[in-house]
């Protein structure tokens, strides 16, 4: 019997010929990512008397949730973590001018196909877009990984979304993921791995794949894979820190379920408060006024996201009732958006450009909502209280939908705004 991507990677990482869904394995970790979550793992390590890490070369630490530090408390955390990283000899350290972890780690070449990666962030699943088995863990488990280099896993069943067709113009991979959440529920992949397959997956840009892998955790998934291909190879050229295999699932691998999805007729979608699977097409939404529109986050803050927003906003103005925040996902994205003129278009339209940070996505800082306010955002979660007041509302949509909504002041279908000549 052949193996899925999850089975292949867990077999290799646990030194076995093969594993199957349901098997418990103790696996060696190839890369451990800690953002400010290191502040939770650090005391556990100190308390236990751990003097050195299993392999500081395989650890990346960065700051992204609260940068630059908005409070004294956050500043103290950063100061402590800089000392902790130095104490343990962690060399791969990125500060305030790098960006959000899930964008920075691929950019800096830390993420390669076939690796087993854990991070103190639930959206670590993003690296599945590169064919890595990557998942979020908590601080105590991270302490265990940092000390021993190992962690146990139950080999997950895999479900496959067989996605065929071309996404219509103005419909992004975010819409597709929201459509899947709405149709199959936020628990469809609970404890499971996902493989996103089919012609739609093959055609999709790497950035668009990252959006879907990123949000696979919103479907409950442990891993959210795309099969790595030449697009991954092109991106990693000159970046990858080590050689890697172009790992594929075996043709006779066993899937718990296969969902056939026709992607050619999907419309722009939004998730209504306060669950990611509370989804409707924008066209059926009715009039929903907004106070804030936000384009950014590890889900949709990449160049293609900013580019489609700029295409929609070029020559237009943000509605005076709305504040539009744009947060490039990384410094690299920021610089490219700056040099290519995207930021100028957005600023001319009235957008507020902030430095790269998670910021408002999790209600940490910058762009917090007041009671009774409403935001449409290109982020990954619309939970009650997610972006500030628990009496505020967050709607999720694609960057195109957010841009069109910023113009109209109500949540709007982006398709009438698509430029005839894209940027």
């Amino acid at each position: 019997m052949g193996m899925t991507l999850a089975e292949k990677i867990l077999a290799r990482a646990s030194g076995r010929q093969s594993v199957k869904a349901g098997d418990f394995v103790v696996a060696s970790i190839d890369l451990a990512m800690t953002h400010e979550g290191l502040r939770g793992a650090y005391p556990v390590l100190k308390e236990a008397g751990v003097k050195k890490l299993w392999d500081p070369e395989k650890v990346v630490n960065l700051f992204d949730h609260w940068v630059p530090a908005p409070t004294v408390q956050a500043a103290i955390h950063h100061k402590t973590l800089r000392q902790a990283a130095a104490e343990f000899g962690i060399r791969h350290v990125y500060g305030e001018n790098a960006g959000i972890c899930h964008q920075v780690l691929p950019e800096k070449g830390h993420v390669v196909p076939g690796d087993l990666i854990v991070g103190t962030d639930s959206h670590t699943v993003t690296y599945g877009a590169f064919g890595a088995a990557a998942t979020g863990i908590g601080y105590s488990e991270m302490a265990y990984v940092l000390a021993t280099g190992k962690l146990w896993f139950r080999t997950p069943e895999t479900i496959r979304f067989q996605m065929e067709g071309n996404l219509p113009s103005g419909v992004m991979s975010k819409d597709l993921l929201l459509y899947l959440a709405g149709k199959y529920s936020a628990e469809v992949a609970q404890y499971r791995a996902i493989e996103f397959r089919g012609s739609t997956a093959k055609e999709m840009s790497l950035s668009s794949r990252m959006t879907m892998s990123n949000m696979s955790v919103e479907l409950g998934a442990k891993f959210g894979f795309f099969e790595p291909d030449e697009k991954v190879g092109d991106f990693l050229k000159g970046r990858a820190k080590k050689p890697y295999p172009m790992i594929k699932a075996d043709p006779d691998a066993s899937y718990e379920k296969v969902f056939e999805v026709d992607t050619s007729r999907i419309e722009p979608q939004v998730a209504l408060p306060s669950n990611v699977d509370n989804v409707q097409p924008v066209s059926r939404l009715g009039k929903v006024t907004i106070n804030q529109a936000f384009i950014g986050s590890c889900t949709n803050g990449r160049i293609e996201d900013l580019k489609i927003a700029a295409g929609i906003l070029r020559g237009k103005k943000v509605n005076p009732q709305v504040r539009l925040l744009v947060i490039p996902a990384s410094w690299e994205v920021y610089r490219e958006a700056l040099k290519s003129g995207i930021l100028e278009i957005l600023v001319d339209a009235g957008a507020i450009i902030c430095n790269s940070t998670c910021g408002p996505c999790f209600g940490g800082h910058m762009g917090i909502l007041a009671p009774g306010e409403r935001c449409v955002a290109s982020i990954n979660r619309n939970f009650q209280g997610r972006m500030g007041s628990s009496e505020a509302e967050v709607y999720l949509g694609s960057p195109a939908t957010v841009a069109a909504s910023a113009i109209e002041g109500v949540i709007a279908d982006p398709r009438p705004y698509l430029p005839r000549f894209p940027l």
């Binding site: 418990f24 939770g40 955790v217």
Partner: protein
Amino acid sequence: MKNIKGRVWKFGNDINTDLISPGKYLDGTIEEIKGHVLEAVNPRFAKEVQKGDILVAGKNFGCGSSRESAPQALKALGIEAVVAESFARIFFRNAVAIGLAVLACPSVYQSFKEGETLELELEKALVKNLDRNISLKGSSLPREMLDVLNKGGIAPLLKDLFGPGRIG
């Protein structure tokens, strides 16, 4: 692990980590966070919960973030166990990692009213409603997770591995 017995607090489906440990308080300490646990769903909970109480919930409990403050704050409030119809996987692992008992038990939500007494025999995955004499069987935890729980979580486990007198 001995049986756990306590008074039940009930919560519904999709209780996420932002509700349990809101992002706006995340840069604080667990002592600061615990006063805000689930305040948007039930403002009485954090004020009135008592040591030894048990949380019963519907599907997908703990969905969302990997923040360990979610199970930690529940534990700091005195919650002894969470029994839910199903769990999001990161919360489930985190709870075990910090020594908070968790059990998935499909019909638990309909089998309890708030304030009733639940008895949990974790090793056998048995749940009892002592007020109405109902017995339920949950999904047994794998041996590996029970061992971590019996130890009190990962921190004590690491201490055994790396503490004084060990080669670390």
